[in-house]
């Protein structure tokens, strides 16, 4: 991207920073939400729920920055694509924030009822989700398509882990119906984490779209 206008560059830089800020924040929310579940720590869960408001605010900031850039700077095609991508990434990150909040709500639902099993795979899934977002942010900062493509491998791994967790929990519930109330929040958490990864894949698709100027939606997922 070449511009005569260095002010425009500064503004684009600020937009990038805000997207990064939001990405880093949701990553930490995923970690905290699953930690809160693992340690049955409702205080930490509440912390996540409160912090999600910051995520929402950042999405608004991004939208405002993008609209201003489009309206006042009349960007050329590549820049325009970059700016609309930033907006869409903002939307995906906002959804990821909501999903972290959902996980925190599962922690509060569970309260201090004993866990049906020690949490091992869910923290692994949370780790994967964060890695996927880290890759998405890397790809975003450097417009690196190869990094973006690595996210599909994470998604695959995520799906396998989700299946495993789901099977285990279903087995526990089938054996003893009284565990349902305690197993369900864990089952839902696995789904939330999987959906987080889906949003990371959306971001990857958007980045590839900007760089290669073509739509890759639902490609490479096979």
């Amino acid at each position: 991207m070449i511009h005569q206008n260095s002010l425009f560059d500064t503004e684009l830089g600020e937009l990038k920073e805000t997207v990064l800020k939001m990405g880093i924040l949701v990553q930490s929310l995923i970690q905290k939400s699953v930690d809160s579940l693992k340690n049955q720590d409702p205080k930490l869960a509440q912390n996540v729920i409160d912090d999600d408001k910051k995520v929402d605010q950042l999405e608004l900031d991004i939208d405002e920055k993008c609209i201003n850039l489009i309206a006042l700077r009349e960007p050329k095609a590549t820049d325009l694509r970059f700016i609309t991508m930033a907006m869409r990434i903002g939307t995906d990150l906002e959804r990821i924030g909501d999903l972290a909040e959902d996980i925190a709500e599962r922690t509060i639902e569970l309260g201090n009822q004993p866990l049906v099993k020690p949490l091992i795979d869910l923290p692994k899934m949370a780790q994967l989700a964060q890695e996927a977002i880290a890759l998405a942010l890397d790809a975003f900062v450097t417009l690196n398509v190869e990094k973006a493509r690595l996210i599909w491998a994470k998604e695959k791994e995520m799906d396998q882990l989700r299946d495993k967790v789901q099977e285990e929990l279903e087995e526990i519930m089938a054996k003893d119906a009284s565990t349902v109330k305690r197993a369900l929040p864990l089952l839902l958490t696995a789904r939330h984490l999987e959906r987080i990864c889906d949003h990371a894949t959306n971001i990857a698709e958007d980045i590839i779209y900007v760089v290669e100027a073509r739509v890759v939606k639902h490609q490479g997922k096979s």
Binding site: E17, L20, L25, Q31
Partner: protein, 378 residues
């Protein structure tokens, strides 16, 4: 010669000039090597610092990151250079601190926690870099205070626990005394029972205080005193003698069988070692029913000397095993209190073994019994 006097002047002038030039050159070389050394020195200092040092230019792009930063964030400096703090370190708090300092133009100190790649707490200090009046960016120093914070947390929890544990017997004592004062003192049927309860709680209380003092004694390494050669068999015998009355009362047999002939010496502090063995024996007796048996044995493997206390008691459920060495952790708090336990016995054992560079292991089967083993490096 006198024919060309100006030549002479010229030659001498050239010579003087040459000399001056040489001197200047010499000086420049000296200055340069001085500067080089200085820069090398600064680099060496930065490299060997435990604190993370990060500098950004006036645009907020990273221009320097020392190895401590590289280690904490698992990155390498070349990957960071030219990137913003968010892009490079993926951290909002540090980025915000630096932005704040750049704006305010003054030093700001702040505590910062990171959770990725590992959980850590830093005392961060950031200052503006200036050349004259010109702003040149910001330098940020991260001092790792994770351990200090952890220790503080640990202390706070311990103090909270101790006050709770102290209050429990005190509350009981006060309520019995009150009941007695309110007339029960003349109630021949109950007054003795009340006094016995008071005595029991008072004993618990003094045991608790003794254990707390023991723990704080173990913690202040300076006050530990020198290691001496200890006759292990003798110390075991002493501990068994102490516990014998209690064991006899409960109908529990204590057997001693040592697999090492002759005198066994370990290096350490006798008082503490005695307490550790006594605590294990006390537990073995406490958590066994009458008719049980406690076996104390020792063995040698190479230089290592092991001492085991095995009982035929109630055992410890596996999910509790990882936590029983924590202070105040008990499987059944009510039962432990009833038996006069403080919840500190095993914490003391663990601490004693730590200062002896040894280890303590536990194996247990519910309903069958428990074996604690002290291992000395020899």
């Amino acid at each position: 010669m006198s024919k060309f006097p100006f030549l002479i002047t010229l030659t001498s002038k050239i010579e003087a000039l040459e000399k001056a030039l040489k001197e200047a050159e010499q000086k420049t070389a000296e200055t340069l090597s001085f500067l080089e050394t200085q820069r090398g020195l600064a680099g060496t200092i930065l490299k060997s610092m435990n604190e993370g040092v990060l500098a950004v230019d006036e645009k907020g792009n990273i221009v320097l990151a020392n190895p401590a930063i590289e280690k904490t964030f698992t990155v390498i400096e070349p990957e960071l250079l030219g990137k913003t703090v968010r892009a490079g370190l993926r951290n909002n708090e540090i980025a915000e601190l630096i932005e704040e300092v750049a704006k305010a133009g003054k030093t700001i100190e702040k505590e910062i926690s990171i959770i990725v790649p590992i959980e850590k707490t830093f005392a961060a200090m950031a200052s503006p870099l200036k050349e004259g009046e010109e702003k040149k960016g910001v330098v940020c120093v991260l001092h790792d205070i994770t351990e200090i914070r952890k220790l503080e947390q640990y202390r706070t929890e311990f103090v909270a626990n101790v006050s709770h544990e102290l209050k429990t017997p005190l509350t009981s004592i006060r309520s019995y005394v009150e009941t007695l004062l309110n007339g029960a003192i003349n109630d021949k049927e109950h007054n003795l029972v009340f006094l016995q309860k008071i005595e029991k709680h008072a004993l618990n209380l003094s045991q608790l205080i003794e254990d707390i003092l023991e723990i704080s004694g173990l913690e202040s390494k300076a006050q530990l005193g020198p290691f001496v050669e200890i006759d292990l068999k003798k110390t075991i015998q002493k501990a068994i003698e102490t516990i014998h009355i209690k064991a006899d009362k409960k109908g529990i047999e204590i057997e001693r069988k040592c697999g090492i002939s002759g005198t066994v010496y370990v290096l350490g502090i006798e008082d503490h070692l005695y307490r550790a063995i006594l605590n294990l024996l006390d537990n073995a007796v406490n958590y066994s029913s009458s008719g049980g048996k406690v076996t104390v044995s020792c063995s040698q493997d190479g230089k290592k000397i092991s001492l085991s206390v095995a009982d035929t008691g109630i055992g410890i459920p596996p999910e509790h095993l990882p936590r029983i060495f924590e202070r105040f952790y008990r499987v059944d708090t009510a039962r432990s209190r009833e038996l006069g336990g403080t919840g500190l016995g095993l914490a003391i054992v663990k601490h004693v073994m730590n200062i002896h560079n040894g280890e303590v292991e536990v194996a247990s089967e519910q309903g069958k019994g428990t074996v604690f083993t002290l291992i000395f490096p020899g």
